[in-house]
């Protein structure tokens, strides 16, 4: 797909985000709204790249406390422990629950990280107007959208346990500060990937420039 194509935006056509009505608009930097539903019209999502960057950076920042701080505090009559994500995985691995350890590790550590790296890759390539592998990059974006919600697995587990296991002195489970940070990371990456406009991947392959 290296040859240049014609895009709707190139032709001055623009679709409404809300009702998907295609309308024609002047190629000037004047804001316009949909003649049918009145929503703002943009050729591309406005500020997509910068918003995506902002959310991504926030996600990166929160990823650090999410992994360093306590995810879950479990207390029982005989022991009291605080677990970070990694220590929880290690504990699961040690106690023989290798499958669960692997699942937790992938869902909680690898996927958010890969997601953030992929988004970074997409953003960088878009900003550099790279023409490199646009189809693969689009596929990567679709994967991101698909997989994003599953990274919340950890949060689900912790919130469920925290709500259910409240046996007083016998045993308690409390969500630690890392759970909040981790949830924020997942939400921010999801928002970031939502903010990303995959059409930008293809823009460098068009005949005309879009402002």
């Amino acid at each position: 797909m290296t040859e240049l194509t014609v895009s709707a935006a190139g032709q001055g056509l623009c679709s409404c985000h809300v009702c998907n009505l295609v309308s024609r608009r002047e190629r000037v930097s004047v804001s316009a709204h949909c003649p049918r539903c009145g929503a703002s019209l943009h050729f591309r999502k406005p500020g997509s790249v910068s918003r995506c960057w902002a959310l991504l950076i926030a996600a990166y920042i929160l990823y650090i406390p999410a992994n360093l701080l306590t995810m879950m505090e479990t207390g029982s009559l005989i022991s009291y422990r605080k677990d970070t994500i990694i220590s929880g995985v290690v504990e699961l691995w040690k106690t023989g629950s290798w499958a669960i350890a692997v699942i937790v590790f992938i869902a909680s550590v690898t996927i958010p990280l890969l997601k953030m790296i992929s988004l970074t890759l997409l953003l960088v390539s878009v900003q550099r107007r790279s023409r490199w592998q646009p189809r693969q990059r689009t596929r990567l974006y679709r994967l991101l959208e698909l997989v994003g919600r599953w990274s919340m697995l950890d949060i689900y587990v912790v919130t469920l346990l925290a709500a259910l296991v409240q046996l007083g002195a016998m045993g308690t489970v409390k969500a630690g500060p890392a759970a909040l940070a981790f949830g924020a990371v997942v939400v921010l990456t999801m928002l970031a990937s939502m903010q990303f406009d995959p059409r930008l991947i293809w823009d460098p392959l068009q005949k005309e420039r879009i402002q």
Partner: protein, 558 residues
Amino acid sequence: MNDTPQKPELSEIPDAVSEPKRRFSVQLVWIIPIVAALIGLSLAVKSFMDRGETITITFKTGEGMEARKTKIKYKDVEIGEVKGLAIAKDRSHVVVTAEMSKDARGLLVKDTRFWVVRARISGGNVSGLSTLVSGSYIGVDAGTSTESRDEFIGLETPPAVSLDMPGRQFVLHAADVGSLDTSSPIFYRRMQVGQVIGTELDRDGKGVTIKAFVRAPFDQYVKTNSIFWHASGIDLTLNASGVKINTESMVSILLGGISFQTPQDRLEAPPARPNSVFTLFPTRDEALKHGETVETYRLIFKESVRGLSVGAPVDLRGVIVGEVTKIDVTLDSRNSELSIPVEIQFYPERLRAQYLNKSQQVKPPDSRALLDALVANGFRAQIKSGNLLTGQLFVALDFFPKAPPAKIDWSTSPPSFPIVPGSMEQLQKKLMQIVQKIEKMPLEELAGDARKTIQSLDATLKSAEKLLKNVDGAVIPEARTALLEARQSLEDVRKTLGEARKTLGGANQVLAGDAPLQLDLRETLREVSRAAQSLRVLGDYLEQHPESLVRGKREDKQ
């Protein structure tokens, strides 16, 4: 994609409604990473602030401790956690790395003590039972020093008394620790007022040092002159008044304990300062004994002291005035003579008290002058047998007026007290004298003389034998004839005697009660008696009837 059908549609695409551009270009979205950064930063700062000091504690073993699980607790409040356990480079101990919470910063001073709290069951107390379920933890006793530090040496046993408990600590020296152990009770008038907080062997190995803690209101009763003794076990005394059992409490029977007391007459003494050193005596009697002044003397014996033991009494006519503390043996290299110096402790106050009773008014002379005076009068020490069966000896002090004059040698240390040999020794001496006298006798000359005597005796015997032979040859035949004659004469004599016996037998027959002669004689005598009677009757008749002589007997017709 064919353009022709689409073209008209394209023209039908409605135009977007233009609107004026808003002057609002600041991207609000950048607030999100800023907020995230702020949150992250605040979390980082918070965790940094919360992060207490990391300290290391060394223990002999890591028993019961686990990294990231074992807590450090002060007054049962968690103030830290063990982060790691490692073995020291020289493998002699375990280094525990612990992270303390920030509130614990003030606790990390020089004299803060750490120990591992485990379930302990010892004698009187059971502690740390909760650790059976929850696992061991490290206990902390906050120090009072202001010098902070982060390296500590952990205690192997929990301290019996925490540093903030009001009271005073004292140091006791004893010969042995007895049944005492950490947390053994301390009694004052049978009230438990404190406990032993540590026992250790002296560095020179010659005794033990016991650290005792007396709780606050009671520590004032520990005076500078207080006496301490082992209150362990049962003190059973059997004497003329019966059996007396003396004990402090059941606990002290099981655990051992220490009692202290201040002599009644000396209550004015100031309270003892913390860490004062006292001597711990084995019994109360001993302790009371040692409340008095003690003077040490040396008695140098030449005789055997077998049966004299350390602790044997020094007796003054039945009153114990001291005891034997040391028995040595020394060799005098000049004359290679063995002597046995026996050290005794002497309680002069007992003597002086008796002295005082004699003359209340007079101020007693010091014991030196007193003893000098006594010694001049023949006051001596002597070893005596206390028990003939066991051979136990004791040192008796008494007056021996006949003893050779002696003086106390004050120049030596301890002063040497004059002695007289014991009764056994005297007996031995006499035996020795006898033996010496025997030795002095000229036994060889005597033996020579005896031999000579025997030789001459031999010669004498020989001549005697000759003489006897001569006698045999010359005298015996004559003697035999003489003897024969003598025998004949004897036989004659025997015959004569036989005849004499016969004669006597005849006489006997004659003289016997049933002999015929006697019977006859008796018959005759009866006849005579009857005749005499007739004569008397005749006489009477004639007297009454003299006429009858003439007329004859008259008839009874009248």
